[in-house]
Symmetry: D2
């Protein structure tokens, strides 16, 4: 199972704590965490997953495989800039969006367009079509309930 | 000057009329129209621009250069699916969004992320950060006023 | 009809003359010229096509729609770096390769992989599977004979 | 360290044996193996790496994260077709090319263009600029000697 975590490259400490909780909960369920590989929400989620022994993958916007945060096990250097945003929902069985700006909104929209299950944590809610909750663990629980038949 | 028109692959007749008006107004100003090359809003806008003698470009999701609507002068077959959405704001000096679904929302978000001037016609308004108007001609007027110093 | 011209971003005067000849011959046949949009072979071919009144399209590696040589009518800013190489054979009915380095070799290989008709002018000949000739006009003649039934 | 293995989606048993040897040798050195995720050379190399307990990543041409061979730990579904070829050299510290067709030739050319260290096993040799050897283990030894200062 591959779960995407999307969110901005910088965030408040409170949001980082929730993103880390998301990462921990994903790894504890044995799933691989895929994110955009940069700072903020992406770094906090990857740190949480690594601390639980999970595999973390960064789909990087730049073209340097050495770039990205230090909690990534695998780094895919796309060199596509925001064009890499499409690769996260496409590669994942489910996605968690944590807060975020316009980049995150583009990924939310692509996730909805592809019909991939999505749960948000204090994030954009463009049309009420997916659940947006407050806690990181709660979000992962909700996503897995939607994924497991 | 290259202006993008984004919107869904199928739409109501009223929205198609507005998209065609957008296409006409873009071509009358001598700008090149870039769109996703498919039906609905994309086809209506391209038809309008062609009828005014403008150059129309389709950035197609598929990998067949013969695909896309018949009002395109140039067809770029990307084969990237929704991944091609990033190419329209990236290649344009300004963007008009006409109605649309999740694909259009992803393009709106990418346009905002890149800081490319954007005007909407009866479309998503995630945070009130760009003008959304009712008429096609009005939208193009507004966009060019923002582009011309 | 869309014809791709691939080649390096810098080249000798003799190669530039041949690339310009290729561009002229493509435009005289009423076809659209698609190239990588940069200097060298790409610029010479675009200049030739423009001088004959043809439409020229640059599929740029960078993310600035103002970049690319000044003979382009349409600029698609991909921001994908060498990743944009796949877009030229994918979008074209036939391709002419003029001299070139490793970037051109990658495009030759992708063109062969996709089964798009290819003619070379003093370029890589990895396995003798496509004709490599000396003159620009000769190459375009040969390509069109393969394209027209 | 991330090492790419490139080669065709179908191959002889002898080539598969060499690709498996390449995969084993990469994993034994503690490096992550990145490949195109499909059959043939990609599958054999991934199988070898998995049998040694290594992490294997498939950069898939299609858009289904369930696709690809069964020896992949991580699957990145690009949906870019041959456009995904650029992602392997971009993401790797070194690349091994095993036999292969035009797709492999495009990846060899992109690897050379990016200046990423490359060793071949019975593969294309367009200009004698990189070593092409006969054995899989030998190729990995040679690559690591070039990577380690």
């Amino acid at each position: 199972m591959q779960i995407g975590v999307i969110g901005a490259g910088s965030c408040s400490e409170e949001i980082a704590r929730k993103a880390e909780e998301v990462g921990r909960a994903i790894a504890r369920r044995g799933a691989i965490l895929i994110c955009g590989g940069m700072g903020g929400v992406m770094e906090a989620a990857a740190r949480g997953a690594r601390e639980e022994g999970g595999i973390t993958v960064g789909i990087l916007p730049g073209d340097d495989p050495e770039s990205g945060n230090r909690h990534l096990a695998v780094r895919v250097a796309t060199g596509f800039g925001h064009g890499r945003n499409v690769l996260i929902p496409r590669s994942c069985h489910g996605v968690i969006a944590v807060a975020g700006g316009y980049g995150t909104l583009s990924e939310i929209a692509l996730t909805l367009k592809m019909g991939v299950p999505l749960v948000g944590v204090e994030t954009w809610d463009p049309d009420g079509s997916f659940p947006v909750v407050s806690g990181g663990e709660e979000a992962v629980d909700l996503l897995f309930r939607r994924l497991e038949p």
